[in-house]
């Protein structure tokens, strides 16, 4: 150890792997990996020199490491700041609450981190670096496969694993046997001078290259997926249906290259939606089953099929998938106007305000209503629906349970101009009250809590609204996302490559056999040494196995006296060993 005190205190050299040993060992340790060597020297001037230098830096391991680090740091804000792509409402809320910060964030792209310029820049640079790294490494690797393992270093004793013994066999025969033995164990072996050089574990490098290439495949798949995808939402009330065309979607977005003119013809009808909830215990109200029973068709004259759609089991149809997203209640109402004519009859989806117990709000718009003297009198109703009313005493219109145990609909009514004829699109879930007047009774706004079957009469004989029943609605996401298969292929290849890269050892073994003359007698000294890409406990084990395998062809010299350790000058003069076992000089050396 004292010999090491002159090494700098920098502990980084502490875990130096065999790759560094390469510098000690000359060619023997070279190219045991295709990792690029570090090079931080500055370029000679001139644009070409700089360009080359820049490219070198970009494709170095050091910069790859830096970019990986930046990528993980860059991904953080998107998980802490609301993202437009995930929850636009929250983003707006954030902007209202923090106006200055909101502006700064907006400029930095913090509300869409994963499609922002700077995040894209990081990963694009990383992938350019990756390609710049992969291509030369692949070539280099092909070169290594064509070439041969480097010859034995002069002093095998300096390698991480080493063993030696003496034999009477002829060195040539030993080497021939060694080459055979190594080849049988799937080493690439060849003879060079008085030694056999062998190498194994090239699959490690293959795995590493496959892994990195697979990362590129996954990025491409991701890009394909986002450029050609389409995704839309549709809310459907029981009994209603959907057909796949742009106008049918409630909302729709698609990638830059998606062609909305050639959408696959398919569609489905929601027959029934089933939901059950935990009835007791601390998790009362937690959903247990969500199921949408649908009838679907695909193709121009497709036959109809029935199927359930559940949360984890989307409907796979004509290259698209239909996912069940959420559900709610749609109170059924019948509206009569002043003439006594039924001007509206149907189920109106109400949107849950409280996702747990489904206190919902909604509006009913009746543009075709008239007064009893035939004047235009558009009607609008607004109110709450609760599936389980807390009871008269509870005093509030909050639901107590998500299932339909005690459904109550509370509405107030407006009349005038709904604004639906203006041509401007408006939400079906909100009333535009600018030109509407609320009905009042004795100065107080008209409002009524209705049980199914009950009716609310409007003042002045303007008509009535009856709460006739309740239907479920379910909302679906319909997505078309190409590139999924490619992404999965990339992922599996990455995983296999990674396993190869991390679990396979690449190692070299050299076996030397030379005739020496000791005390006037000729004898063959066999030396074996191994070198791995990184320090491994298995390398010495393997070397021992190889030595055992070679032993029949290079039997220990029967009279091998203790003195055979002639090349171990540090040994104490050995005691004559006639005892039961070999002296174990390693023990002595270590003590």
């Amino acid at each position: 150890m004292s010999t090491k005190t002159d090494t700098p205190r920098d502990p980084d050299t502490g875990a130096a792997a065999a790759a560094d040993a390469g510098s000690d060992l000359g060619a023997a340790g070279s190219q045991l990996s295709t990792a690029p060597t570090e090079d931080v020297t500055f370029p000679s001037l001139g644009p070409l020199g700089w360009a080359r230098w820049f490219w070198r830096q970009l494709t170095s391991m050091r910069v790859a490491l830096l970019l990986l680090f930046l990528l993980s740091i860059g991904a953080i804000p998107g998980s802490l700041i609301p993202q437009t792509s995930i929850d636009p409402v929250k983003v707006d809320q954030f902007k209202v609450e923090h106006s200055t910060l909101g502006d700064i964030y907006d400029k930095l792209g913090m509300f869409h981190v994963y499609s922002s310029v700077w995040f894209s820049a990081i990963y694009l640079l990383l992938f350019i670096s990756l390609i710049g790294c992969i291509v030369p490494r692949s070539w280099q690797f092909v070169g290594q496969l064509r070439g041969r393992p480097p010859g034995a270093p002069r002093r095998l004793t300096r390698l991480p694993a080493y063993t030696t013994w003496r034999t009477d066999a002829d060195p040539d025969e030993v080497l021939a046997a060694a080459e055979r033995m190594l080849k049988k164990r799937r080493f690439r072996a060849h003879r060079a001078g008085t030694a056999v050089a062998a190498e194994k574990g090239y699959l490690r490098e293959v795995g590493n290259l496959v892994f990195h290439i697979a990362l590129i495949v996954m990025l491409v798949a991701f890009a394909v997926g986002s450029l050609w995808k389409s995704e839309g939402g549709k809310l459907i009330t029981e009994g209603d249906g959907f057909a796949n065309s742009l106008t049918q979607y409630d909302d729709f977005k698609s990638g830059a290259f998606f062609d909305t003119d050639t959408m696959e013809p398919f569609g489905f009808t929601l027959n029934k939606f089933v939901a059950t909830y935990e009835r007791s215990g601390p998790q009362k109200g937690t959903p247990r089953v969500f199921r949408a029973d649908v009838t679907y068709f695909s193709g121009a004259d497709g036959k109809e099929h029935k199927t359930p759609i559940e949360v984890n089991t989307p409907l796979d149809i004509a290259g698209s998938k239909v996912y069940l997203l959420s559900h709610g209640y749609a109170p059924e109402v019948t509206v009569k106007d002043g003439r006594g004519k039924v001007v509206y009859k149907g189920a109106v989806p109400f949107l849950p305000q409280d996702p747990k117990n489904f206190t919902s709000t909604g509006v009913v718009k009746v543009p075709g209503a008239q007064t009893k003297d035939g004047k235009r009198n558009q009607l609008g109703f607004q109110g709450f629906f609760v599936p389980t009313f807390g009871g008269k005493g509870s005093g509030s219109m909050f639901s107590q349970f998500p299932a339909l145990d005690y459904p109550v609909l509370t509405l107030t009514a407006y009349h005038g101009d709904l604004g639906v004829d203006s041509g401007l699109p408006q939400s079906v879930y909100q009333l535009q009250k600018k030109n509407l007047k609320q009905y009042k009774v004795k100065g107080a706004p008209l409002a009524k809590m209705m049980l199914p079957g009950e009716t609310m009469k409007l003042p002045n004989g303007d008509g009535s609204i009856q709460f006739t029943g309740i239907k479920n609605w379910a909302s679906f996401k319909i997505t078309h996302q190409p590139g999924n298969g490619l992404a999965l292929t990339g992922a599996v290849a990455a995983l296999l490559g990674l396993a190869g890269s991390l679990f396979i050892q690449r190692r070299r073994v050299w076996i030397r056999a030379e005739r020496v003359t000791e005390n006037g007698i000729g004898i063959t000294v066999v030396e074996m040494a191994g070198l791995g890409r990184s320090e491994s406990a298995r390398l010495p084990e393997e070397l021992a196995d190889l030595a055992l395998a070679l032993e029949p062809d290079a039997p220990l010299a029967p009279n091998a006296a203790p003195g055979t350790e002639s090349d171990t000058p540090s040994q104490d003069p050995a005691e004559p060993t006639d005892s039961d076992g070999p002296a174990d000089p390693s023990e002595g050396a270590r003590a």
Partner: protein, 360 residues
Amino acid sequence: MNVAAAANETLAHNSNLLVYSAMAVYTLAFLAHMAEWVFGSRSKVGRTAAALTAQVKAPATVSVVAQKGGTAVLERPKVITKSAAGSREVPDGPGAAGGTEKGDLYGRIAVSLTVLAWALHVGGVITRALSVQRAPWGNMYEFSTTFAAVAVGFYLLLLTLKKNVRWIGLPLVTTVLLDLGLAVTVLYTASDQLVPALHSYWLWIHVSCAIISGAVLYLGAVATLLFLFRDRYEAKLADPTGDQPGAFATSVLERLPSAASLDKFAYRINATVFPLWTFTIIAGAIWAEAAWGRYWGWDPKEVWSFITWVAYAGYLHARATAGWKGRKAAWLGLIAFACYLFNYYGVNIFVTGLHSYAGV
């Protein structure tokens, strides 16, 4: 009307009892480990410093003859191993017991108690699973108890394989107690069924891999942390002119394995788990595709899994990059594990996303 069977109250109750008993026994194991360290500190033998000096005499390049007396039978040959240039050649410390008999006795008692506690602990996890008739990984309480059980299980497995890992016993048992304490107080959720979004066999695959990855990575992180201490300690010893480690630090650190061994242990664990973690994310993506209609949507949980993954990739790269081996890589390894922890506690508690668990 409820399809899912009501939770079996008795089993759930037994599960809680088992977990509490396990905690009691872990506490005893903790005390026994403390005794092991205390008695071990009185040992005057096996001082690393002494070992260091002895080591100096041994030239690193020795060759040995593999032979057996006069017979020509080659026994399993002795292979001389030599660390790569630049490494310190420091031998491993003698372990917490410091070579003392009394320390060793307490150490053995600690391990036996840990085995008993673990058996109770695993019983608790299994009865919990039986009480709800599903994988016991539906909420943070269940996740935490399973996590600790896997970590201890893996440690005991290494012990069974005769690996030199008893030094990790004290830190492990301490943190397992913390984890379980947190689980039964703050995170406790009565046993119940899962929301429909979690009804999938991917729950078994994805979540079990996530738990195993984290629990094993935790052992790697402990080793990495100890590596940083031990490495500093060895660096100080190697430079007699600089300042020397204090008495307490010496007493603790000299008994640990060498920095090189700790580093190697941590690397093996991280490198072995990395593919599993990669698989966890892939499985999660497949599940997300089935449940939400996209395999990747930058949900906070996904983001942090990704960050954790990239951080571990960075760690592996660092080890292959000159100038980043050793301490710098170790720091990266710790940061990577911190990302895993944040993904679990931080994202579940502070960030809302699609990955919500029933009652935290």
